[in-house]
Subunit: 166 residues, 2 copies
């Protein structure tokens, strides 16, 4: 029985982790919206990428990561999404973002309960437990969105509240 | 049996979540180290706080958060730590950081398995499930450390690798 007792310690359920990530994604979407169109695609500090490029990385990882978590197959973005994967307008970026939101929900529903503790090579190359890859994408989003906050502040623009995930 | 099967879905264990957070804390420690002493305490962009203040917030939340998670008591930092809580040197800040590392390990070991899904008012005021508070502190660290990366890049200093948690 001891094994059973240990294994039933639930820190977080898959549904809670999805909602946690989607809550962060709602904040990141508001950061995209907060940028003026030109600065979204051009403004940077210290030679870093503009926020549009950071957001495109996040979207790409949402598609590839959620599909890979659900299926164990690590495909290229273009195999998973037939829309514009390199939008040059804020409206186009937000559409891509919103399509990733629905895709993430759909893929998450396909993830088998035992999958999280399996070992896999995420994106075909980063070997580790599956839960750690999902946390990596979440952490990476917090990391880059925090950078977007500095861009906005340096432009004199108030970022959205970090704590408001609604 | 259906309930049992659902409840035994383990996304992440408490020990894995601790190691995940401590891995991030090792990266944040390297960010503190990467700042020149003066810039650590004075440099900012867009009216934001210098990185020393962001790091002090992270340390404070590590002490109060881990103790509160373990005990349900939300104490002031000074009740939990008798050392210098407002160091004015990099060496002092790193000592405070390292003391928080040991404290976090000690408190984590006291957290009861059923605690994560309980509801509590974190820091005495933020009502929600306990797991979500712990993720908040981890997310907050990624958020602020990402900002530290921009500070470093704008100073012409290469930040540590985000993906190296060793």
């Amino acid at each position: 029985m001891q094994d059973t007792l240990i294994s039933t310690t639930v820190v977080i359920t898959p549904a809670q982790l999805l909602e946690h990530w989607q809550g962060h994604r709602r904040v990141t979407r508001r950061v995209i919206e907060a940028f003026p169109e030109e600065q979204l695609f051009q403004y940077s500090i210290g030679g870093m990428r503009p926020f549009s490029e950071l957001a495109l990385e996040l979207i790409r990882l949402t598609f590839i990561g959620s599909h890979g978590t659900a299926t164990g197959e690590w495909k290229d973005l273009e195999e998973l999404y037939t829309g514009d994967t390199n939008p040059a307008t804020k409206a186009g970026l937000l559409k891509f973002w919103d399509d990733a939101t629905g895709y993430l929900n759909e893929q998450w529903a396909q993830i088998k309960p035992g999958r999280w503790q399996e070992t896999d090579a995420a994106l075909g190359q980063y070997e580790g437990p599956v839960y750690s890859s999902s946390l990596y994408w979440l952490d990476n989003e917090n990391h880059h969105r925090g950078q977007g906050y500095v861009y906005l502040r340096s432009l004199g623009i108030e970022p959205p509240f970090f704590w408001d995930r609604g």
